[in-house]
Each structure stands twice: as structure tokens, then as C-alpha cells.
């Protein structure tokens, strides 16, 4: 009960923030009802997807300060579990999604216990290695379609199929992922105020001090890693139904891992709104820059160059991300 109350309690944010957040939620809620391009719709869905990835990453990476660059492997586990179960055994999304979470979390424990013996850079690089190992395995594993990947063929089903999450129009996907998005926000809002959330922030601050306050640092990290994993895996499952065509290169590549971490870090790691702000800026930027500059002007790669420049400037000038800038400006104001 207290947990629920805590999840819906945003009272430690200024009113203006809540007003902006509320207005945005209403805007997103009614967006599909207004005329829009399919491209805009797809971009907003991508925004939801990456916000959720970022929120998951933010638990361990932001609040816990453990820079995890291997989240794509869990996108892959979630996506492949759902796709394999649907294609081979016709098992609906709502069953395969939790199964995927269980598998992903189990795998996160297997690698998490050794991984968290490492700190800092060493940890970050080791997470990349684990993710690449899994990707390489999936690329040759015939059961999951090897490098060709898997394709969910929508003709077999009669959309809208709410059990299997097979739809013809994006608007259904939009509202499903929107619901996940809201649940994600409430969950993180609870998490950041929970005991584990506090413990992680103490760990980020100073591990020795955290130990001396009775915190099992290793276990707290592994637990949070599992939470982050669950987030990513759920969205990975959704991704499989939405994209319908998954292959190791798209779902499990290092680029995805990096993008997930970047969203959160750019927006502001360790804050509730950070990953959402990060995704809100980067995803539209990325897809529209690609559309305008890449496709229209024929300048391949220039979208990513601008994107990279933004990242470089932010990391050199305000490492706490955009939310860090907001907070700094706010503090300067006399009150």
C-alpha cells in the first residue's frame, strides 16, 4: 500500500515540472487523434521504447552509477523469447513476455555476480563483452534463425489480436507502449524512493561508506541490474511484436546498448525525467535528421555527426546532462 502511494507521489518536484509533465502526457494521449504522418507515429513509438530502455538503464546506471553498456543483450533475450514462442508454439505475448523477463533476469544473475566484482571502466567494458558474446551466439544459433533472424508473419493472425499483440495499425501499438511508459514512470518513481533506491545512491557516492551502513553492495547492484534487465526485456518483447522482423544485428548490437545509455546520460542520469528528456530529444532528432539530411539531401551519416557533436558538447560541459542544466539554472535563481 505504501509502495503504491509512493509510486503516485511526485510531491518532491516543483509544481511547474508536474504541470509540464501533465501537459505532455495529455498531449501524447491525444496525439494519435489528430492528423499525423506514419513517420511521426513511428517516431513517437520509438521515443516510448527508448524512454523505457533508458528508465531501466537509469536504475543501475544513473542511481547506482554503474555504467552498463550491455543492455542490448536483454533486448535480444526479450525479443527472441516472444518471437520464438509465438512463431513456434503460438504462445501469446502476455505469456511470452513474462517468460522472457524470467530468462533475461536469470541470465543477468549468471553474468551479474561476476560482473559486479568489477568497477568503473572495467565494468563498463566487460558489459560490452558479455553482450557481444551473446550476440555472436545468436548469430549462429539456428533455433532462433541465426543471422537471418526471425520474422513474425502477420497474415497468419487476424489483427487486431490483443493477445498476441499483432496489429495492422500503429495506433494500437502506440497505446500499448504508452501504457507501459506510464507504468514505467510510476515504477521508477517508487524505485527512487525505495530502500534499494537509497542504497544505490549511497553506493554511487561511496562504496566503503555504503558497506559501513549495512548495505550489501554487491547484492544491491545485482538486484538492481535485474530490475534494469526486466525493464529492457519487456520492451524487447514488445519490440518483437511491433517490428515483427528481428535479427541479432538490429536488436543486440553494441549501437543499441550505447544508445540506451546515451539517452539516459544525455537527459540526466540518476533523475526520474532524465531518460525521458534524453529520448525525447535524441529520438526525433535522429529520425528526422536521418530523414531530412540522409534521405533528402543524400548526406549519409551527417545526422549521426550532429548527434555525436551534441553528445560531445554535453559530456564536456555538463556531465549531469540536460537535467543537470535545468537544476543548475534553478538553483541560481534566488528564492
Amino acid at each position: 500500500m505504501e509502495a503504491l502511494k509512493s509510486a503516485f507521489d511526485f510531491s518532491d518536484f516543483p509544481r511547474s515540472d508536474l504541470f509540464v509533465a501533465g501537459a505532455l502526457v495529455v498531449l501524447l494521449l491525444v496525439f494519435p487523434l489528430f492528423p499525423h504522418s506514419a513517420f511521426a507515429m513511428a517516431t513517437v513509438i520509438q521515443f516510448f521504447i527508448f524512454s523505457l530502455y533508458g528508465m531501466g538503464w537509469n536504475t543501475i546506471g544513473g542511481y547506482g552509477g554503474q555504467v552498463d553498456l550491455g543492455k542490448a543483450q536483454y533486448v535480444g533475450i526479450g525479443a527472441y523469447t516472444t518471437a520464438v514462442m509465438l512463431i513456434r508454439w503460438d504462445i501469446p505475448f502476455w505469456v511470452s513476455m513474462p517468460v522472457g523477463v524470467c530468462l533475461a533476469v536469470a541470465w543477468s544473475f549468471v553474468i551479474g555476480f561476476p560482473l559486479f566484482r568489477l568497477k568503473g571502466h572495467y565494468f563498463a567494458i566487460a558489459t560490452i563483452a558479455t553482450s557481444l558474446v551473446l550476440k555472436d551466439l545468436f548469430e549462429v544459433w539456428d533455433f532462433v534463425g541465426a543471422a537471418r533472424g526471425l520474422e513474425i508473419s502477420p497474415i497468419k493472425y487476424t489483427p487486431p489480436d490483443f493477445l498476441r499483440l499483432i496489429f495492422r495499425e500503429d495506433i494500437y501499438y502506440y497505446y500499448v507502449i504508452f501504457a507501459f511508459f506510464l507504468i514505467g514512470i510510476f515504477y521508477i518513481n517508487w524505485f527512487r524512493k525505495s530502500r534499494l533506491g537509497f542504497q544505490l545512491r549511497a553506493i554511487k557516492d561511496n562504496e566503503s561508506v555504503a558497506q559501513s551502513l549495512g548495505i550489501n553492495v554487491h547484492l544491491a547492484k545485482v538486484k538492481t541490474y535485474a530490475i534494469a534487465t526486466a525493464f529492457v526485456s519487456v520492451v524487447g518483447s514488445f519490440h518483437a511484436c511491433y517490428i515483427k522482423n528481428i535479427e541479432p544485428e538490429d536488436t543486440m548490437s553494441l549501437n543499441i546498448s550505447i544508445l540506451i545509455a546515451l539517452m539516459a546520460m544525455l537527459g540526466g542520469a540518476g533523475s526520474l525525467w532524465g531518460p525521458i528528456i534524453g529520448a525525447g530529444i535524441l529520438i526525433p532528432l535522429k529520425s528526422y535528421l536521418k530523414e531530412w539530411l540522409g534521405a533528402t539531401a543524400g548526406l549519409v551519416g551527417i545526422d549521426l555527426i550532429l548527434y555525436a557533436l551534441i553528445i560531445m558538447i554535453i559530456s564536456a560541459t555538463e556531465p549531469r546532462g540536460i537535467w543537470g542544466i535545468v537544476e543548475r539554472l534553478r538553483r541560481r535563481k534566488p528564492n
Binding site: 549511497a202 561511496n206 551502513l213 549495512g214
Partner: protein, 248 residues
């Protein structure tokens, strides 16, 4: 039964003996001062007792239980709290949040942790700092906050590592009254490392002196102040030889 027993504790770092065969006991309700020149092994001793460093040999018994091989967090959960000599708050935790981390040791509930933290902050006269970030505070205030955080875990025993270092006299007085409050009113056994002799000598029941990793003296503050070995450790052998008459 003593609250803490340390038997023949040895801690090696490579070839260096940071703690060499140290034994002592602390009774419930005592306030023990731990002094010694720089590099004498005081902080290492704290690190061994609180489980941050594994000991090389020896035995540590806390509240009747052998804690020698327990991990730091396990020892903390059994009622041993500590502060750190060098503590640079870099995170974004506010004072109340920082103290809540300690309070979360015994509860899962945020409301309970919060009210406990508020209570401790007001007990230590820190209530007005509640909303500040720890990293924004001056060093003196940061040290009091870390003490409050350690206390929030509800310890039986508190190890304080140089809480008065670098503070001005009025700040030392403040921290001293804080320690007295913890010891007398909250009934917590305290052991403190301190270079500010005035503070140690004034409030300790007993003082233990380390030099080059060994325990060279133990006794009441007055005895310790006149102990030639202690004076030698602090002032150097030559000084003692040359001024032997004045000193005795």
C-alpha cells in the same frame, strides 16, 4: 562481558605490518580514545574491526560473537557503525536522504526511515540542514552529518575516525557535545581516533596509544599524558633524551 574484544590482531600490507599483535577490550558504555602519530595504524585498526579490510591474523569478538571473517555490511548490521576520516560527498543526496540511508538498515518503509532520520537530526541539532545537499556543506557540518547517518543505523558501538580534524575550536566544542550526547544520552559505546588531544583527553574514559602498528600504552587519559613511551612516540627519541629531566 566486554562489548568488543580484539585478540592479537595483525594486518599486513605486503611486507608492511600496519597492525602488529594488537589486543584490547572495550566494555559496554565506555568511551575509548585511540591516539598515535600519523601512520601508526589507527585507521587500519578501524578498517579491520569494521570488516573493510580482512585481517591477516587474530580474532575480533563483538557482543559475544566472532566477527573476524564477516563482511563489512554484516558487521554493520550487528550494531557496529563508523565514520570515515576522508569523506568527500560527491553525490546528490541531501542531508535528510543521507541520514535515511542509515535508517533504512532496520526498516523497508520510507516513512519510518524518514521520521527516524528527522529525529536523529534534531537530536544532533542538525535539523536546519535537512534540505541541503551534503556536498554543499562545509566540512564541519559534513562530519556531523556522517555521524548522524552512522547513528541512524541504531548501533551498539560507534567508531569515529577524526571527526574533529580541521575544525576550529568552537566547531570542536560542538562536535564534542555531540559525542557526549551520543555516549551519555543514547548510551552508545564510542571509540574515537583523534588528533585533537584536548578533545580526547577531556572526554575519554580510557585511551589506547598506537605507534608503528603496535599498542604501546593503554590507560586513563591522565596516565597516558605522562607516559614516557607515549611522549617518545609523539616527540621523538632524541627530544625525550635531551629533555628527560624536565619531563619527569
Amino acid at each position: 562481558m566486554p562489548l568488543l574484544e580484539v585478540h592479537n590482531l595483525v594486518k599486513n600490507f605486503g611486507g608492511l605490518k600496519a597492525n602488529d599483535d594488537i589486543s584490547f577490550t572495550v566494555e559496554k558504555g565506555e568511551l575509548i580514545g585511540l591516539i598515535g602519530p600519523n601512520g601508526a595504524g589507527k585507521t587500519t585498526l578501524f578498517n579491520c574491526i569494521s570488516g573493510l579490510h580482512p585481517v591477516s591474523s587474530g580474532r575480533i569478538v563483538f557482543d559475544g560473537e566472532d566477527i573476524t571473517s564477516l563482511k563489512a555490511f554484516d558487521i554493520a548490521r550487528r550494531g557496529m557503525a563508523r565514520t570515515f576520516q576522508v569523506y568527500v560527498a560527491s553525490g546528490d543526496l541531501t542531508v535528510i536522504e543521507n541520514v535515511m540511508v542509515g535508517a533504512f538498515m532496520h526498516t523497508r518503509l520510507r516513512t519510518a526511515a524518514r521520521s527516524r532520520a528527522e529525529e536523529i537530526l534534531s537530536n544532533l541539532n542538525l535539523a536546519e540542514l535537512t534540505g541541503y545537499r551534503v556536498s554543499e556543506l562545509p566540512v564541519a557540518a559534513q562530519k556531523r552529518v556522517t555521524m548522524a547517518t552512522a547513528l541512524a543505523t541504531g548501533p551498539k558501538m560507534l567508531l569515529l575516525d577524526e571527526v574533529a580534524a580541521g575544525l576550529n575550536p568552537s566547531e570542536v566544542d560542538e562536535i564534542m557535545s555531540g559525542i557526549r550526547h551520543v555516549h551519555n544520552d543514547m548510551g552508545i559505546t564510542v571509540m574515537l581516533i583523534e588528533h585533537v588531544m584536548e578533545l580526547v583527553m577531556k572526554i575519554s574514559d580510557r585511551v589506547i596509544v598506537l605507534d608503528y602498528g603496535q599498542k604501546i600504552a593503554e590507560g586513563q587519559p591522565r596516565q597516558i599524558a605522562g607516559d614516557p613511551r607515549v611522549i617518545q612516540a609523539y616527540l621523538g627519541e632524541r627530544y625525550v633524551r635531551e629533555h628527560s629531566q624536565e619531563l619527569t
